[in-house]
């Protein structure tokens, strides 16, 4: 029996996919696991593999077309198998499907002749088929129908208590924007209450905004391959109170900012010496900053953490997200265990990943689940700026340009290569002194790169 190929879920937040490119054409042989198409998700362009072997009998969704998850995009079958019934369903599910270079069977589907009933009845049949999930029995397990249901964005079923659902409806809160604090992420009364209280305290003009989020709810990341191991330590009542109180004043993640000036002369010397020794050892200032940040994080585990409401999660590795501008957006490829990598390795990895980020070829595990981020706008001539924390990380470092500045050293005015960095901290996890100590280590190491050796 022929097998339907459906739009797969290739990223945690994907709702629909655009067919970027077919790697096979109709009539080509395909086998299980073989890439047959490239799909543009909301995040990246991903390869899609065949889940059945046979011949790609029919392409239903053509390059450039977008369809929701679960919709049939092609049919795989035996070369001479009858696929008209399945095509009929595809026609119903996707009424506007163009029918180019059809082989006999496809034409039958378009006109619904063959053995089928008069046109009116056939139209009814199509309408009926439309309401069904158009996937054959053996594929339902591979692509649960839940993914295609309209009431579930990002494939996550909203779990909510009846009371909370009613309260949210009354308050005009969009449940999809919320994280529940009940078992299995169930949204319960207290989540709605705190969202409402939060919305009120923000004095927003539109109290019925659909963007109300529960501020203290832990950010729940999907299971990510290669994520850093961690330990969860229960939060104290004081810590929860700090979290609650700060959140009501500033929003879901209470940011505060620490700025320092770093003298980069020795880092510059270090960099140019390396390049002189061997052109292959050429590294950027950003590479050095990332290495220094990673090493400092290991020395200050309190910053390499994430607020989880009832616990604080401390990561064992320094996985640094590096903000990379891409066309109409921003993505943060991750340098995993940056503390254990050499600066040259880090540089090469950033270069390679940034390149793939720009062509949207990163896999989710390559951009989800960093423990700390670095954003550098120095190359744009920005002297200093503040960056917004990428939850659930506890902090982000905004790095400005390096500029020669007259400074006072030993009571004399001298010119030094100065760089401003600003760390944004999640006050629920990182207090002022904690952040300052971390930044001190970063500053000290950047000003004395030799410390990287000890």
């Amino acid at each position: 029996m022929p097998t339907q190929v459906v739009m797969p879920k290739l990223s945690p937040t994907m709702e629909e996919g655009q067919l970027a490119r077919w790697l096979k054409k109709e009539g080509d042989k395909v086998s299980i696991g073989e890439p047959i198409a490239e799909i543009d998700t909301d995040k990246a362009t991903m390869e899609m593999q065949a889940l059945a072997s046979g011949v790609l009998r029919k392409i239903i969704v053509h390059e450039g077309e977008s369809v929701p998850l679960g919709q049939m995009i092609a049919i795989i079958g035996e070369p001479d198998e009858d696929i008209s019934g399945m095509l009929d369903k595809a026609g119903a599910a996707k009424p506007a499907a163009p029918s180019t270079n059809d082989s006999g069977n496809g034409a039958a589907a378009q006109t619904t002749t063959a053995t089928s009933a008069p046109p009116a009845e056939a139209a009814e049949n199509r309408a009926a088929a439309k309401s069904e999930y158009p996937v054959s029995q053996d594929l339902t397990t591979a692509h649960p129908p839940a993914d295609s249901r309209g009431d579930e964005s990002d494939g996550r079923r909203i779990i909510v208590s009846p009371l909370a659902a009613r309260m949210a409806a009354d308050a005009g809160i969009n449940l999809r924007t919320m994280q529940g604090s009940g078992p299995g992420g169930r949204i319960v009364k207290r989540d709605i209450e705190s969202a409402v209280a939060d919305a009120k305290s923000q004095h927003v003009a539109a109290p019925t905004t659909s963007q109300v989020t529960r501020p203290t709810a832990p950010v729940q990341l999907p299971e990510i391959a290669e994520a850093s191991p961690f330990r969860d330590e229960p939060t104290t009542e004081m810590r929860r109170t700090i979290a609650r109180r700060l959140v009501t004043s500033i929003g879901p993640v209470p940011h505060f900012f620490l700025t320092t000036e770093i003298e980069m002369d020795k880092a510059a010397e270090f960099r140019s010496s390396l390049a002189q020794i061997d052109p292959n050892l050429k590294v950027s200032f950003n590479d050095i900053v990332i290495k220094v940040v990673a090493n400092s994080l290991i020395k200050h585990p309190a910053v390499n953490a994430s607020f989880q409401d009832r616990s604080i999660r401390y990561y064992e590795r320094a996985d640094i997200g590096v903000a990379v501008a891409v066309e109409d957006g921003l993505i943060t490829p991750i340098i995993r265990s940056a503390d254990k990598k050499s600066i040259v390795e880090i540089g090469a990895e950033i270069k390679e990943k940034a390149e793939r980020a720009r062509t949207r070829k990163l896999r989710p595990e390559e951009y989800l689940g960093a423990t700390f981020s670095v954003s550098n706008l120095g190359m744009f001539g920005i002297d200093e700026f503040t960056a917004i924390i990428n939850p659930p990380e506890a902090a982000i470092l905004a790095v400005g340009a390096i500029k020669p500045i007259p400074v006072v050293r030993n009571n004399e005015i001298v010119v030094r290569q100065m760089m401003h960095v600003t760390m944004s901290c999640d006050h629920r996890v990182v207090d002022g002194a904690t952040g300052a100590k971390f930044l001190q280590t970063v500053k000290r190491t950047l000003e004395n790169p030799l410390l990287l050796l000890v």
């Binding site: 208590s161 009846p162 009371l163 909370a164 659902a165 009613r166 604090s181 009940g182 078992p183 319960v188 009364k189 207290r190």
Partner: protein
């Protein structure tokens, strides 16, 4: 008002009703000369004589039928089962005669009878003698089911049951006969059937408990108060007719419910209460209704296993914390 035991409160109710209405009489195994297996009928033979306080042979089906006949003839029998485990033998008379007679006689015969005695678990009397049978009787239309949890309720409800014109199953609890409480000595102290009692007010969760589970629920609520959880305890007191309105009102306030019972879970009274809550208060529930029942096994004889077989204070606390999303 005096502080007396539940045993004494029941005794007072019987005594007052025997004095008030000459049609009231007691019947059962050992109720007269031995003054009751649990001494509930203490002193009554002496005061009212052997026409009003009658020892029967060990023939539950027989004396239950006798009682139904006496009720049809205009008397108001109070039939004691030494324990409700023995009422199983009498169920044909209770269910097929007492419960059905008013309906099947086209309204000609009311059956103003009370079947009373201890129900539920005692201590180490094993599987056949530790059964909570309320769901059996509550299942049938035509019977009223009463389950008091305090001496005052026991007295006020038993007096109302004796004065009621329909058959009433009055379920005491052996473990509770010694429980003490303030009880009115007003001979007209009556508690109407079908009215639940809010044993404790609270706002974060409701425990619906009856009989033995009420003191446990109150103790749990006390403990939870210290943990910052305000718990309301509702005692329906009468299972049929059930005062579901009081329960629903509480659920609408607290949004979370634990239904605690010592009886088995399957087809139990707790299941019925839970179902009614889910229909009538669905939009007010912040958590699934949590049922805490006796284990779905015959009651073990061994003390350690017996303790595990019915809910206790700790399990009630855990259940409330669970539905209040505190763990």
């Amino acid at each position: 008002m005096a502080v007396i035991t539940m045993r004494e409160a029941l005794n007072q109710a019987l005594k007052e009703e025997l004095s008030r209405d000459k049609n009231v009489f007691l019947m059962g195994e050992e109720v007269a000369a031995y003054q009751g297996a649990y001494k509930v009928t203490k002193g009554l033979l002496e005061e009212f004589g052997d026409k009003r306080v009658i020892d029967t042979p060990i023939t539950e089906l027989g004396f239950a039928g006798l009682g139904v006949g006496a009720a049809m003839a205009g008397l108001r029998p109070v039939v004691e089962f030494m324990t409700f485990n023995f009422s199983i033998l009498a169920t044909d008379q209770i269910i097929n005669s007492a419960a059905k007679m008013l309906y099947m006689s086209g309204g000609q015969f009311n059956i103003p009878i009370v079947f009373r005695g201890p129900n539920g678990s005692a201590f180490q009397v094993s599987s056949q003698h530790s059964q909570a049978l309320e769901s059996w009787f509550a299942y049938f239309p035509g019977l009223k089911i009463v389950m008091p949890s305090t001496p005052a309720d026991a007295k006020g409800l038993l007096k109302s049951a004796i004065r009621d014109d329909d058959p009433v199953i009055f379920l005491e609890q052996e473990r509770m006969y010694g429980n003490k409480g303030e009880v009115s000595d007003d001979p007209e102290f009556l508690i109407p059937l079908g009215v639940a009692d809010v044993k404790r007010e609270g706002k974060d969760a409701t425990i619906v408990a009856r009989s033995l589970m009420v003191p446990y629920a109150l103790k749990a609520a006390e403990e939870l108060e210290k943990q910052g959880v305000s718990v309301e305890v509702i005692d329906p007191r009468t299972i049929r007719p059930l005062d579901i309105e009081t329960i629903i009102k509480s659920v609408k306030k607290t949004n979370r419910v634990v239904v605690a019972e010592e009886s088995h879970p399957f087809c139990g009274v707790g299941a019925e209460i839970t179902a009614q809550i889910s229909v009538q208060a669905f939009d007010y529930l912040d958590a699934p209704v949590k049922r805490l029942s006796g284990e779905d096994v015959p009651m073990p004889y061994a003390k350690n296993l017996e303790n595990l077989a019915i809910p206790d204070v700790k399990r009630i606390i855990d259940a409330v914390r669970e539905i209040a999303y505190l763990d």
